[in-house]
């Protein structure tokens, strides 16, 4: 049985890296692997070029006509959406995938889009397909790390099901070279407030008030925390860096992962390493974020972003590393987990994740709204195995933990 994986947005920076990853995983035309990657994009010339480079078939279509999109997905088992801005592509492609009965995976980093898609998770369950949004770095990486940490805590009996945790904090290191698409996403994510999860009160289906994890917003700059992003094998002592709370999907995937493990927390927050100067710029950005709705501001922003390169070059891709730090505290603020995951370059790791998740949702016949870690279902010690032994998705990743 050969499964068809359609990559939409193959001509973009991340899309072309995913296509390359597909080729490396044997998903080209005559590779004999169970999965065949088919490329798709609006621009016929461009997609043909990428397809020839990777020895893959290709399709040319836009997303203006939902019925047409659905027809294009008829023989597809899973679609990977790498076409940003996801605000304009994700909903249409997800609905088309549901109609066509194929799984949907994307590398979205936009919180609003994520929350919109999660409404369709229920539909996905009913259609017998899976939706995995944000299956890229950083949400995918932090989700894998959190999943492994919770499994460890549960298996060591440090916590039990139905327990409440104090705080779950995820922090990501600064990205050195943004792709143009990521820069646009970052500009859109800049708000006056950031999304966090708090334990609050909500109503159940019978209208009764219960404790639940609810979304909450805090002003930009209000939440800051110090994390140690440094390589703990190479650096002695702590090397704290200031990080500011940010609108990251990681917060939402963390909530799903906690609930899946039957756990609750008083707070779930995601941070981005800012440093002393960066935090001022970030807070200023937050103050003026409301101006983003003005057309001339948007035009100006787009014009500035257009000067950016497509993304990091091959050398940066090979050289740069990215760090995700996870801290879990109990209700008495005792730190239970202080882990650090070092991944390859953000874009490279995103490509690894997207391809692995897409293959896994088809293989595992998964359904519903699931997070990347749920889709991958890695062994509990996957992060600690040698590269040669572990799943291809984790190649180049290193986990470190500080004794707590």
């Amino acid at each position: 049985m050969r499964y068809n994986v359609l990559l939409y947005g193959a001509t973009g920076y991340s899309g072309s890296l995913i296509a390359t990853e597909g080729k490396e995983r044997g998903m080209s035309r005559r590779d004999g692997c169970n999965f065949q990657m088919i490329l798709a994009a609006r621009n016929g010339t461009e997609v043909r070029k990428v397809a020839e480079e990777n020895r893959m078939e290709y399709r040319v279509f836009g997303l203006d006509d939902p019925d047409e999109v659905s027809r294009r997905l008829d023989d597809i088992d899973v679609v990977i959406n790498a076409a940003g801005p996801f605000k304009f592509t994700a909903e249409c492609l997800t609905k088309a995938a549901l109609k066509a009965g194929c799984h949907y995976v994307d590398i979205n980093g936009e919180v609003d889009v994520y929350m919109k898609l999660d409404d369709l998770g229920w539909k996905a369950t009913q259609c017998g397909v899976a939706i995995v949004s944000a299956a890229g770095d950083t949400a995918g990486a932090s989700d894998i790390l959190l999943d492994a940490a919770l499994r460890r805590l549960l298996s060591n009996k440090r916590i039990n099901k139905m327990d409440e945790l104090g705080a779950v904090r995820i922090a990501v290191s600064r990205i050195m070279d943004f792709s143009r698409g990521s820069a646009e996403t970052a500009a859109r994510l800049l708000r006056e407030q950031v999304l966090v999860i708090r334990k609050g009160r909500g109503r159940d289906h019978r209208g009764q008030l219960i404790e639940k994890l609810v979304k909450w917003h805090e002003p930009v700059g209000k939440l800051e925390h110090v994390f140690d992003f440094s390589d703990r094998d190479k650096c002695k002592g702590r090397h704290p860096q200031i990080a500011s709370a940010a609108n990251l999907i990681d917060t939402l995937t963390a909530r799903s992962t906690l609930e899946r493990h039957g756990l609750s927390a008083n707070a779930i927050e995601s941070y981005v390493e800012t440093g002393a100067v960066g935090r001022i710029a970030y807070q200023l950005g937050g103050m003026f974020a409301s101006l983003n709705i003005l057309p001339w501001v948007q035009t100006l922003t787009r014009a500035q972003l257009s000067f950016l390169p497509d993304g990091p070059g091959p050398q940066e891709l090979a050289r740069q590393r990215h760090v995700v730090v996870l801290e879990i505290e109990d209700l008495y603020r005792t730190r239970l987990i202080d882990w650090r995951l070092e991944t390859p370059n953000v874009y490279k790791f995103t490509a690894q994740l997207a391809v692995a998740v897409a293959r896994r949702v088809v293989d595992g016949k998964l359904t519903g709204w699931i997070t990347p870690a749920t889709a991958l279902n890695l062994p509990a010690d996957a992060l600690d195995q040698k590269d040669s032994d572990r799943d291809a998705v984790l190649r180049g990743c290193t986990r470190q933990e500080r004794t707590v």
Binding site: P66, M162, D163, R206
Partner: protein, 598 residues
Amino acid sequence: MMARFWLATFKLDPPTATLSSAASPLAATDALGWAIEVIQENEEIAVLFSTVDDPISPGKFQCRIGFANGSKSCSVWRDRGFPLVDAIIKFDHDGLRVQSPCFLDSSELEYEAELIVIDGAMLDTAQNTPAAALTVSYEQSQQAPDYAFPATWIKRRQVSWSAKRDNLIAMPPTQLKFTMKPLRLPSLAPFKGGPATPQAIWTGIINLPNWPPEFSYEPAVRASRVDTFGVPAFRFEDVEVLGFRIDLDKHGVGDDMALAAMIERLNFHLEPADPSDDKILHSGGTTSLGNKISGQTRGAMSDFQYRPATRTVMLELLRYGKMKLRETSPPLDINDFQSQHELLVRILVGRVDDDTAQAHDPATFVPAIFVDNPWSKVLGRNVQGFDKRMADFCVRHEGDLTALRPDGRLPGGNAGPEELGRITRIDLSNNTGKRPSGLTLLEIDCPFETFEGWDAFVEIDLELALGTTALLPTRWRQSDFSEGEFRRSFARSAIAKTLKGFRSIQVSPIGGPQLRERWKAETTWITGTFTVDDGAHIAWPNGIVGLTLHAEPSAPDAWKTLCKLLGIKGKNGSISLPSGSWYRMRCSMDLTIDDGLE
């Protein structure tokens, strides 16, 4: 429950239609025989038209269409997979008569036509002989909208019903005389007018089987909704509305939980995925620190819930002059139409997300609805998520209460439809042949002859209405919205949308608790859009209308909850609505049911 039955099997010429469909349900070319079974329990009678595997020695029946005169039992039969329609049925020693609305030659539904008359000695026991055991089962299928694509597909689940039959008597197959009109819908072919001699006839006592039936282990299968129920796009012309705004702050007892309970089904998505989670939440189970926390709900949508947007609910009496399909669906085309009266309770709901200060997606939810057209009831219950019950809409005529026909005319009359305001009482239907039933739901005191401006309709400028909603307080007004989440933009959008075109949201499947439990995993929202044509007219007559609501024990729960909300503790209670709290509207509109993916 014991009932008597009369069962006859026939070998008939196969019909010309190649496939069984909603229009020709008995036209299965692979059928070896056909059967008519009449089941009578006291005054309630059901007539089942089935295909049968062997007319001489039958083993398996499949009821393709049937009729029942018990309004409630008709719905119960349908829940169990028997596609029955409400009808007036007479059954005695001399024959069987079934009268139910049907399409003949005319484009208008005939409301008083006799579908089939069978004359002959049907229960003559003089020459009868005791018969050996008759072990037959009905192989039926329950159906409900597909939970992912409710406008495109329906789901069917096989059920098998086996009933024990006692006192079995085999009657000699004597010739029967069939009298039938040329039916377009529903077609009873291959049965046709003229003499017919059954292959075998049995009578006796049948022990009606209890729930649950034997469910097939096969998963539910998908079938095209269009093939079974037509295209889910409807056109309603000459619609007249007599609407009553019931402000529960003014007339009610302020029981917000009861109001929330009326829309509880809309929040089915918050029910725990695992029943044990429900126990944890509601039986005192707690977290390690003693707090109750929500577990995983179905899908990923625990972030929002539907809530009543206002404490003003609408009680509306409607007459649909012409209900049509917007696309041809043989044997009906876009010119064929039917009419009906409708009494409904309409609640404005909004979607409230965990993290937003404003509700959004205003829609109307109808928890209780009563109609007098059996085909509308079938469609509403089976595929549109409306829990429709049959009701008698009565006027005073020559001193007596008389139930109107669905087209607003008096029974047997050819004069024009009665004034809608003349309807003085609405009874929950009990036996289709005995109307009115006396199970009163609502009495309306609307002496419209004395009202100034009863017919002073003014055309609504729908575009203007969108801009200046204060001018058009038709259904809901800004002042009706007291909670923060529903004020301002939600209210503005809701007021405008509920006039020009409004979203409707219902939950499927409809049926008894056992059916709903069986289909729990497939519960779904049915969303639709009503779009009102330009040229809608509204009138605000001067006068006080009195409403007396009856907490009829056999009424649906939502109706009884409304009575409770109004503080009705005994059998009934009255409220008076001055000018401005009620209105008249005339319009035409379209309804489109969608899959929720548009």
